[in-house]
């Protein structure tokens, strides 16, 4: 079976709002960059196009019908994954692995600023009979989860706040990040308590942006580029949609997704083998919980490692050198692509002042947000 490589990336944004571009123009601009980077002509060289989008977030019914033209995909094989961009990566990976397709384009975007009532849409994801009639801002679910996570692991509120300080600082060095900032632990700790113990500054802010990538089989990749980034393994898993029966302490879906990806990638000791991890941090505590689920450390250890600077950009195990979602902005279904973009740039040694020296293996992780229990993991390497 052929190996699978990422051979081109294009990104527009991320910014708090991209007022000048429609969602189609946003996709078009990112696609042009990705095709230029890969050296492919979408009208001739691409076998399949994959977009990742959720109707309600777009404001369309059957949104997948609205994507071919801006990608150069009219009259070409195309489908939409109703999920995070990393789930699209899993599909692209499988297509190429079949041996029937050599070149696949992957796209995900966020035009969050077009959606005037994002939290209402997220509230619509709660069970309509059991949960929704209670009302309330849907992020109360995150407050409940953080509370139980802290209770069970003895992680501290200061350690969670440190995640915000670290990620927003990292974002200062990332031109694709919307929310870079130099802030103090006290600023985070003193920000409004929205959903005890979750504070305002521990919640990622939505941003507009788009990421397009070109994937290719080994045969095509080696013709196109001398810097292919190999997809060594992917894994995905969903726990349960029921808030009543889900695990409130651990991210069990991420744990199983990671085990699936590590198995294919032949990763036996993630803490030692992974050089950088881009981990979902939609809420600050999630970075810690996800690190533990990804076996980057023991349960209850992530907070301490963060406090000690181990996960800082220049630490022994850099986590979210991009700035994460706290620093780059919450890109809805493109959230996983923000992670993937950073891993690709790092493994190509193109991450500028964020560059982690000698990075060879990177991990990208996505979680679909409140109230979901879907985790997706990809392991990438610049060595075949």
């Amino acid at each position: 079976m052929s190996e699978v490589a990422i051979v081109g990336v294009g990104c527009v944004g991320f910014q708090p709002i991209l007022p000048e571009l429609s969602y189609k123009e946003l996709m078009y601009e990112a696609a042009v960059k990705a095709y230029e980077d890969a050296g492919v002509d979408p009208r001739k060289d691409v076998d399949v196009f994959i977009t990742c989008a959720e109707d309600y977030l777009e404001g369309f019914s059957i949104f997948d019908e609205f994507v071919p033209d801006q990608l150069g995909a009219v009259l070409r094989p195309l489908f939409t994954v109703s999920g995070d961009g990393l789930l699209g990566l899993a599909n692209a990976y499988m297509l190429i692995k079949t041996g029937h397709f050599d070149t696949v384009v992957l796209e995900a975007h966020s035009k969050a600023s077009d959606l005037l009532t994002l939290m209402d849409v997220i509230a619509f994801a709660l069970d309509p009979v059991l949960n929704r009639p209670l009302g309330g801002h849907p992020y109360y679910v995150a407050g409940m989860e953080m509370n139980r996570y802290l209770h069970d692991t003895c992680a501290t509120v200061e350690q969670c706040a440190q995640v915000v300080v670290k990620n927003r600082k990292n974002a200062c060095g990332n031109p694709y990040a919307a929310y870079g900032a130099n802030m103090t632990l006290d600023q985070v700790l003193c920000s409004d308590m929205y959903f005890y113990p979750l504070k305002k500054l521990e919640i990622s802010t939505p941003a507009d942006g788009c990421v397009v990538m070109v994937l290719a089989s080994e045969k095509v990749a080696e013709k196109l580029t001398d810097k292919p980034v190999w997809v060594k393994g992917v894994g995905w898993c969903t726990e349960t949609p029921n808030l009543e029966t889900k695990d409130w302490s651990k991210s069990v879906d991420t744990r199983l997704a990671a085990e699936m990806a590590y198995k294919t990638a032949k990763i036996h000791n993630p803490r030692k083998e992974v050089d950088l991890a881009e981990v979902n941090d939609l809420f600050a505590y999630k970075e810690l919980q996800h690190m533990e689920a990804l076996k980057l450390c023991a349960c209850g250890e992530a907070g301490k490692l963060t406090e000690e600077g181990v996960t800082a950009r220049n630490g022994e195990l850099p986590v979210n050198p991009s700035g994460g979602l706290l620093g780059m902005g919450y890109g809805l279904e493109a959230s996983g692509m923000e992670k993937l973009l950073e891993v690709v740039l790092q493994l190509r040694s193109e991450a500028g002042r964020r560059q982690i020296r000698d990075a060879e293996i990177g991990l990208a992780h996505a979680w679909r947000g409140i109230p979901t229990t879907t985790g997706i993991v990809a392991v990438l390497s610049n060595n075949k």
Binding site: G59, M119, L134, G143, M144, M193, T240, L243, T245
Partner: protein, 157 residues
């Protein structure tokens, strides 16, 4: 380049639209049992899985662990403990609430799962994980077979 950046999406040229859609959400067989018992008898029901030997709350027609069909409905009582909670201070539009709302997952001794609900008759500072609580029902003539037939859970003595 303008010095004044646009930050409000409503200040750019746009077309304002919405996606209106109305639904009924069928309760189904398990939901029917659950809400009928709440409305008529003030009881909270679960469904027993004979294979896993657990009672799942709220009841379902199938077990999510072993996929067995569930047909035995069990009363789990109205008293439980707080598995986790939060205190929400903003509403869905991001506006500060006049009174904070406590949301919690209440687990029952006899069941796996539980109910997401509000906690009442207590101060926000006094709520704790592991606290014993009991359901406070609306008077029977006000009940509509809704999760809101339970007003909230309150601490037990």
């Amino acid at each position: 380049m303008s010095l004044d950046k646009i930050t409000n999406p409503l200040h750019i040229r746009h077309w304002l639209g919405d996606m209106e859609a109305d639904y009924i959400y069928t309760l189904g067989i398990a939901g029917e049992h659950f809400f009928k018992e709440i409305k008529e008898n003030g009881r909270i029901m679960g469904a027993k899985c004979p294979r896993c030997n657990v009672v799942i709350v709220p009841p379902r027609m199938y077990c999510e662990k072993c996929f067995a069909k569930l047909e035995e409905w069990v009363d789990v009582g109205t008293k439980g403990t707080i598995h986790t909670f939060t205190v929400a201070t903003i509403d869905v539009d991001g506006k500060k609430l006049k009174e904070p709302v406590i949301f919690a997952l209440v687990k029952f001794e006899r069941g796996c799962g539980g109910l997401i609900h509000k906690i009442g008759e207590t101060k926000t500072k006094e709520v704790k994980i592991g606290m014993n609580v009991e359901a406070v029902f609306k008077p029977s003539f006000e009940r509509k077979a809704s999760i809101n037939d339970i007003k909230y859970f309150k601490p037990t003595e």
